[in-house]
Symmetry: C3
Subunit: 299 residues, 3 copies
Amino acid sequence: MIENADVEYATLRYEVGSDGILLLTLSRPEKLNAFTVEMCDELVHAYTRASKDDSVRAIVVTGEGRAFCAGMDLSVGGNVFGLNESLSPTMEDMRERAADPAILNGVRDTGGRVTLAMYDCLKPIIGAVNGAAVGIGSTMLLPMDFRFASEKARFGFVFSKLGITPEACSTWFLPRIVGIEQALEWTYRAEIFDAQEALAKGLIRAIYPPEHLIDEAREFARSLVKDRSPISIALIRQMMNRNGAQAHPIEAHQVESLAMFYTSRADGKEGVQAFLDKRAPRFSGKASAMPPFFPWFRD
Amino acid sequence: MIENADVEYATLRYEVGSDGILLLTLSRPEKLNAFTVEMCDELVHAYTRASKDDSVRAIVVTGEGRAFCAGMDLSVGGNVFGLNESLSPTMEDMRERAADPAILNGVRDTGGRVTLAMYDCLKPIIGAVNGAAVGIGSTMLLPMDFRFASEKARFGFVFSKLGITPEACSTWFLPRIVGIEQALEWTYRAEIFDAQEALAKGLIRAIYPPEHLIDEAREFARSLVKDRSPISIALIRQMMNRNGAQAHPIEAHQVESLAMFYTSRADGKEGVQAFLDKRAPRFSGKASAMPPFFPWFRD
Amino acid sequence: MIENADVEYATLRYEVGSDGILLLTLSRPEKLNAFTVEMCDELVHAYTRASKDDSVRAIVVTGEGRAFCAGMDLSVGGNVFGLNESLSPTMEDMRERAADPAILNGVRDTGGRVTLAMYDCLKPIIGAVNGAAVGIGSTMLLPMDFRFASEKARFGFVFSKLGITPEACSTWFLPRIVGIEQALEWTYRAEIFDAQEALAKGLIRAIYPPEHLIDEAREFARSLVKDRSPISIALIRQMMNRNGAQAHPIEAHQVESLAMFYTSRADGKEGVQAFLDKRAPRFSGKASAMPPFFPWFRD
């Protein structure tokens, strides 16, 4: 149960515009927006909230100040990743006891908890990478639908240099976005690279001057959702991400059949009529009230 | 059981050339080849027939007149998608009762029935997109092996504008062809785009002047299958599409081992001998008589 | 059990440099390094050995003389692929009896046995394709992390011309590297193509003059692993290849959580400290002693 009325975040700003665009800003500028366990919890909350908030049609994510996110805050002392080093977790623990507080708080990767919430989100997510995006700053970009960057953006999957490994489900997302070869090079090499390289290799979609970045990302976000059914958009996001990773197209057929069935007798009626009338549709569906077959998956 | 002797299609033309190329033409030119339930049934029949017809080595698909396929025919009245709105189908229905006539005819996506037949086909399929390909006109291109377009071609995954969702297993095929980001943009945005954009983003392979499109597609088709074993071609198509989507390469190893085993003692004998003799091979294998391990899958 | 002290290969050279780079050379130059059952066994041995050999940080693979590997040696007589034609194997045999000597030696694809050993390897593998790479010469490149080629390199997935089918798990690897469309074209068409086409379509990473190929590949290999944790590198290779092919990112989350957990209290301590001290790290982890959750998979 998420109650939003009085939500104040310590590490984020959550601002919904009258155009339906949520501007979600990582906001620890004095720390280059370095990631903490608190920021993890707040990001999970914010994405889950935006998913259910009908005033939000799409999400633009950026960082306050000169960085996007400089990575895990390594200045916190103890196990800097928040892990309980007294445990000896196994794959069985991960599969069977993921919600057990000892595993949830002492073992599970905080970056992965954020990216799984992004994966489940019903709204398009657009990154506006304003500066350095290192470690979790880079891996949290991967579940986004689109990534734009300022000329000042920097990226780095620096884990192997720190003696650790990629996280935030990046070993699932990154090879799907840029291919296995580029995913391996960036994570083996663990160096910082610039926006031009990110663009050339397909990690980002476009580069803008810093002063135009947010406006461009926001305008792009608006253009995707204006006069579109929020139910269609939510189903597209979930169907493309989930069905595209299945072993056989029959899995898509089953879900698509139900999606067409239920939308064709709801927003689809208005959409077809508006098309025949040559006018803009007025959809009444809301992502907070998805069709009865949703969610079709049991994660 | 498919009987072809006297087949006449109402919405298609099925013409096999002496070069082994089937030219399959969507043929409702007065309706811009708009898709109907009848066209669905006929396309499933035609692809299944071509799969078993040894006179067909490869398939070129095009549209009659100025369009390729303008999408679902929205002028038919009632539920334009042919769905039985009195039902309340569930995922269990889709998984357990897909062949039940109530589900088959009243719930299952017609586009998906066509693309699954294309997926199962034993012959290469080459699209020759001569004009507008919208909605199912675009999604039915995705299971094809290669897509060529005329300068006049237009594409559009317009579902969210109509308040519905992508279908025809496109949420499985599209992200595999153009990547998740482009798949999301086209389906969120739901606008018409031209052949240049389709080429730039990898949806199509090449653009030709309208008067050369069919000849180029046909010549390409011929070049793929001439002096090649029809059994090899059929196995390649099924192995690449199916094995490439599995979670582990051992799945490919199991199938490839049997494919090599059975072909090496059949067409493989002739192929190796012809190679050593420096002459063209004379293969006797036929796709109508696949090796005993085929199909290795139980869809 | 692999004993290496006195290993001498008949078809390979295995040379570990003081820089930690293993140069693995296919060495039957009088036969254009054509592949045999003996070479299969020796390659499986060499990759398994390198995987456990802490003096090896990365592997560069090339061919002796003017070819890389001209394909299966078709001059050996009998079933040239080493298959026992008196058997009638089934998918059940492949799934249940893969280690049974009759299946292992008489049915299983030799190329696949090599590429599965490469897939399991804990060290980055870099191809330096010095000349013709045909049939298994091309398919054995696919599980490599990076492929470089000389201007003289030639490639060819020539199976359908010989009446046989692609092997070496190439129906799993190839569509993942170059996309389903290009994978189908090369394997249907079965022609030889040059390094420029391989580069344009993403099969290889770069082309070098023949005299610089090995040095460039070796320098690239060094740049990936210098001052990086061998445990991080090994986990990255296994996690990217395996997790990226799963149906859901939760599979990555489970593995990444354990990988971060165990590395953060081992090489991760030194890595973070070195970062804070602004010095190069001195990692003590070894790929021969992987963390307790490894292997997390049961192949």
